[in-house]
Amino acid sequence: MALPRLTGALRAFADVSASDSEHFEPDASAKLRKKRQQQAMRQSEEGLSWQQLVKVIKKQRGTEEKVTRSLRDLTQSAHDIVGEEASSDVIESGSAFLFEVFCGSEHVSHHHTTKLRGMFGPFPANAATKACRAVNRIAEWIPDDVLHELLTQNSKTSVDDSTEFGKNLKFHPWKPQSSEVYEWMDEESSDEEAGSLFD
């Protein structure tokens, strides 16, 4: 529960603030899900796209059934990780992201789960394991040089090298107020019951 604040009272009663400020999200989880999907979409714009991946693998292996099945396994895992209500665009960009994350890794590590949680929020562990297996199968069918080209061509464009405002300004981090500041007020009374200056 929010602590009572002077500025809270000023917002409510002083008529000097915007009246429509909402500080309660009726469905905070839905908001987070929406953000995850937005992020997945952004990832698809900046990183490896599903279409690129499919194009490369089909060029290498045609439309063999095992290829199609592995791609389907990957999108199914992405569906489980991204969430039930995600659109096909979001699932595809999530699949491409999983490919980038798991490519070259045989197991799901802590590093991977952190990365996935950062992108999708909480997710079922077995879906990550399935995705990792599918990615490894797919990666095996792509020659190393093609795979390298596929994974690096997009990362070059996604780097934002613009300077962040304030990056060079000296900023002192938050620290709690020392309780010693007011200890002198208690000095004149050693009796605990007497209490500071209020007797």
Partner: protein
Amino acid sequence: MDLPLDQRFKNRGGKKTPALAPCWMKNIDFLLYQAPPVNPNDGAAREEWIERATFMESDLQSLLRMPHEAFWCQVVFDESLHRCIDSYLRFAPRPFDVVYTLPDNVQVKQDSLHRLIFMTCLRMATHKESKKDFITPRIFGDILYENFLFDVPKLMDLCVLYGQDNKPLLTKMLTNIFTQQPKYSDDLRESLPTILHVLNSVCQKCGLECDSAPSSPQKLQTSGPTSLTTMPISEFQDLVFYVSDTAQTLFNFLDVYDAAAKHMIQDDFPVKWCQRSEAILSTLMSAIADRDWTGSTLKPLLKGKLNAALAATAHVFHSLVFQNTLLPLMEHASNPAELYELYLHLMTAVLGEIRMLAVHEVLFPFSEDRDLLVQCCPGIDETQLQFIEDGIQTACCHRAMKSEGKKGK
């Protein structure tokens, strides 16, 4: 020559469109800030908080990396950003809040958000970023005010959150905001009755009678102390925290931007501030002494909060007196007699508030004021100054005697 942003136009689909227009805004959808979870063992809440904070962090970083023009389109027209900043200012932990240790990964995110919100507000308070990136000062002031980018509560929150550690930058920010938009000074004046209203409502909770007349709140002998000693501890604690927050917020605000004191003198605000605060603080401290604290460890914490509030009250009073009387006298104002009379009035009116006065005397010795007044107002009748000095000495002796008495028991 480069034009200010407010006079620039861009081509949009063959149409001449102002450079500062909602159509240039990106769809970011900033999230609201929530205070870190208190329970360190609640892993799910911690993970969710970190995820939320990471999104906020990433969005704010993108915002701060935007070129000047894009930044201002976002800042002016994106209501989700307004709510995001406001939620941080409202709910972020204050330096004087009870400290609880956060897990490292939560603390790192909290620190990052703390810096990013500050930098966002700093950029919002800057009308000239470079020779080519600037806004006409008058228009800048209107943009801030009309879009509620800043308002009095937000400015006070900023001072509370950042004043302790980043005061010089914050002082520059507030000076620019108040200079470019004088309406904020009007708003500050309009906020004073609400500040007194807050104190009045606490007076009532404490069982004190608070007239709107400029007299000191009177203690009721019947219901007040009883209810304060028997009310649930959570309710009592909220009351103490509220009083402490009120005093410390005003103190931090005046500490960062002392020029604001010039707008806080009307309707005898300094005197009412002292009288109500003292009545409340001494009543609450008596209640602390009288309450049964069996099974609770809160007593020292709440006592410390009240001590801090009393010191903050004295600081606020001093700032209001100094900025409105002594400082203009030092700067050779044209109305020294008037200023001297105001000083006498303010100091005489609070001679009954012995606890505040005793602390005030320790922090800001009257002898220094006296020397300054004699120097700046030659030929003044020092009888009244002597009267004030006697009053202060009496308050200090009274305090000392009380303590000695207690020690002798």
